[in-house]
């Protein structure tokens, strides 16, 4: 992995102070994704900080608990004040801030402008790299075929589709094999996966078939929730597909075992 990760810059990255919204799932379950995001942003020349945070509030929002959602949103707005940009390695959490925070404060003239201001400078990781910084190449290498799942919120709320593919095409040795219906939901849906587990399982089963049909030994996506759902299904069924967040591959940080896989040294 070389340091040569920016080609043409639309913004001068050296000037940029980035607040990393690490997301609750990455914070708790797989911090290595967060560090991969930090590496990509720092390689692009940005200064990265990770202010104290918990969650974007989406679980409460989608459960109809507006009061809790607003309390959490206010906390996020305060914590990320002053950063040039807020970047999340997740289309779902970035989408929550960008598409839903303003709506949350519809009737609040005090918070609404703050929510809009935060929304305007919040980005999903790959779209920030490509659309804002103009990055088209990363210096990573990854041998073999991968397939890519488009997570719903990133795709439909933020238009994240070409950006991860642009970056993946620059990874040395990597070949992207598109799956059928890459833009169809994996069945995760947050608490949906537990509340309506049988339906969720049927949806991820269809996804599993499409993943398998590509023959690619590695599955990538940009959202840890979807990745945990798909990885959980693949490991349960004994399918030899390694599941990783796209940032891990783009940053060349694939030393950690894939999602749902054991650490080799712990197997003894």
């Amino acid at each position: 992995m070389t340091q040569d990760s920016t080609s043409k810059s639309r913004q001068e990255p050296r000037d940029l102070r980035i607040g990393l919204f690490v997301t609750c799932l990455v914070d708790l379950m797989r911090p290595s994704i967060g560090f991969a995001a930090v590496k990509l942003l720092e390689d692009a020349g940005c200064r990265v900080e990770a202010p104290s945070q918990t969650c974007c509030g989406q679980p409460a929002f989608n459960s109809g608990d507006r009061a809790t959602t607003r309390a959490i949103a206010e906390q996020v707005i305060e914590a990320f004040r002053g950063y040039d940009y807020v970047v999340a390695p997740s289309g779902s959490c970035a989408g929550m801030i960008k598409a839903h925070y303003p709506e949350l404060f519809d009737d609040d003239p005090n918070w609404r402008p703050k929510a809009e201001e935060l929304a305007a400078r919040t980005y999903e990781l790959t779209s920030f790299l490509v659309d804002v910084l103009g990055v088209t190449k990363v210096g990573a290498a990854f041998e073999g075929e991968v397939t890519y799942h488009d997570s719903c919120s990133g795709l439909r709320e933020l238009g994240v589709k070409s950006q991860p593919r642009t970056l993946l095409s620059s990874v040395q040795g990597l070949t992207l094999v598109e799956m059928t219906d890459s833009d169809v939901c994996c069945g995760f849906g947050g608490t949906f996966a537990v509340k309506y587990g049988d339906i969720s399982a049927a949806i991820v089963e269809a996804k599993e078939k499409n993943i398998e049909a590509t023959g690619a030994p590695t599955l990538l996506a940009g959202d840890l929730g979807c990745l945990m759902n798909m990885a959980g299904k693949l490991t349960r069924d004994g399918k030899p597909v390694a599941v990783r967040h796209v940032a891990e591959v783009l940053a060349g940080m694939t030393d950690e075992p894939p999602i749902g896989a054991a650490k080799p040294q712990a197997a003894t």
Partner: protein
């Protein structure tokens, strides 16, 4: 509300649907056919997105002035010799239709496809009062033989395969030669057509729905692919149009605008095979048509949606694109939703019409993937409206108690970052330790819905925030 609802048993309905192999095979057709056809139709019309905007705007404008357009429409129907009857609810609508049938001394009634007819349960009511209703849309005819509700708003029998239909025909059509080959769909079609032709000629009253009512001219418009609607409304002496109040649009020009997105969104056709405009009863110069023309305008819960966040749902033109693109609908089909309207549009509309206490599952059974909204020809923000129902359920304590307390427990920590860091740090360390040898759990407390058919990946152990602090100190 009239038709019995099994929406409270959504989970049980869904479980049954998931284990029904025949149904699962039939649902495969929804996944493939409708989606590809729509995509091609949209690709061939560069102005499609602009037309969606204009369809949305036409419906919004009409809903804002609904009272005026309904009055204008009524005046035009009267001027053309027809009659308009207003029904506040399903019961009033049923009574009006029955009395019109009795005025016509009707013994049999033919029916074109109409979702509002399903909603008010007109067939059962007529039958109970000695009038025989006969569905003439092939799919509707089949499900009438089976005493089922439609499982899709434009393809009512999409849950069935040809051999099931053959069995139904052999069971009900007493004159059918047992040796006749009905193994091909076209043979089934011929058989249905033969039986239905006689019914068309014998019917005393024809009932149709309406895709649009035109205020400018007093016209009702139906779009069909089989031509059955035309025979239903032209041959009998009396034609009754059943329509909910939000079907009205201002002008014929508006209809032609919306028609450009309707069929493309529904079946991928540029236009449906038949688009039929009817205005009043037969005039002396007309070659055919009914002697009596009645319109029953039905509210049944719509006016209560006006002025609320659910008003947007009244834009719906019943194309079915939302369910055609819905992963939940693909998994469980339409009957699991338990009432008349399935899929995302049903998940928003049903709680409005039968109560969120009855239909509370429906807006929750969504991953919010947003594919429905992305294809809706009138841009109804379906996930947002489903979320509004979840807000109401939460406000009124209708969501399950265990779920609420779990959410409150999580919320308590999520609102306190310092405490959250402390607690999650310890929790993830022990969970990471517990899962270290396999890298995953095949069982977790409170997550049976997940772990029944999936593993739960183990956390790496140290949280991001702990490691960040360790490696980078307090930079924020």
């Amino acid at each position: 509300m009239s038709v019995h609802s099994t929406s409270p048993q959504f989970k049980e309905n869904a479980a049954r649907a998931l284990s029904d192999t025949q149904l699962q095979r039939a649902l495969g057709n929804v996944k493939q056919g409708f989606i590809d056809k729509r995509r091609k139709a949209v690709e061939n019309l560069p102005e499609f997105e602009a037309l969606r905007d204009s369809a949305r705007d036409i419906k919004n404008h009409t809903l804002r002035h609904l009272d005026l357009y309904l009055e204008a429409y009524e005046a035009k129907v009267k001027a053309s010799g027809g009659q308009v009857h207003f029904a506040r609810d399903a019961e009033e609508a049923r009574a009006i239709v029955l009395s019109l049938c009795r005025e016509a001394n009707a013994r049999t009634v033919t029916k074109g496809k109409s979702m509002i007819a399903e909603e008010i349960g007109i067939n059962e009511h007529l039958e109970a009062n000695g009038v025989t209703p006969i569905e003439t849309d092939l799919g509707e005819y089949i499900i009438q033989l089976r005493h089922e509700l439609p499982s899709h708003i434009i393809a009512p029998a999409v849950h069935l395969n040809a051999s099931q239909v053959e069995q139904d025909f052999r069971r009900v059509h007493k004159d059918l030669d047992p040796n006749r080959d009905l193994s091909q769909p076209v043979q089934l079609l011929t058989e249905a057509r033969t039986v239905l032709r006689e019914r068309f000629l014998a019917a005393d009253v024809g009932i149709t729905g309406a895709n649009f009512l035109v205020a400018e001219t007093g016209t009702s418009v139906i779009v069909t692919n089989e031509g059955n609607g035309d025979l239903t409304q032209i041959l009998p002496k009396t034609h009754i149009v059943l329509a909910s109040i939000e079907k009205v649009v201002p002008t014929l020009e508006d209809v032609s605008q919306i028609l450009r997105v309707l069929a493309r969104s529904a079946t991928g056709q540029e236009m449906s095979v038949y688009t039929t405009f009817s205005t009043g009863p037969r005039r002396s110069s007309d070659a055919d048509g009914p002697e009596n023309y009645h319109v029953v305008l039905i509210d049944n819960g719509r006016s209560a949606m006006l002025g609320t966040s659910f008003e947007e749902m009244l834009r719906c033109i019943r194309c079915g694109a939302c369910m055609n693109h819905c992963p939940i609908y693909h998994a469980v089909g339409g009957h699991a939703y338990g009432w008349v309207y399935p899929g995302p549009m049903g998940a928003v509309l049903t709680p409005s019409l039968i109560g969120v206490d009855q239909a509370g599952h429906l807006p929750n059974a969504s991953t919010f993937c947003g594919r429905c909204e992305s294809v809706c020809p009138v841009r109804i923000p379906l996930p947002k409206l489903m979320r509004h129902w979840r807000d109401r359920e939460f406000e009124h304590h209708l969501s399950p108690a265990t779920f609420r307390s779990g959410l409150a427990f999580w919320g308590f920590f999520a609102k306190r970052p310092a405490l959250y860091r402390l607690v999650t740090r310890a929790a993830m360390a022990s969970l990471g330790w517990a899962g270290r040898s396999k890298g995953r759990f095949n069982w977790l407390p409170l997550a049976k819905g997940w772990t029944k058919s999936r593993d739960f990946p183990a956390p790496q152990g140290e949280t991001f925030q702990a490691r960040w602090k360790r490696e980078r100190g307090n930079n924020a």
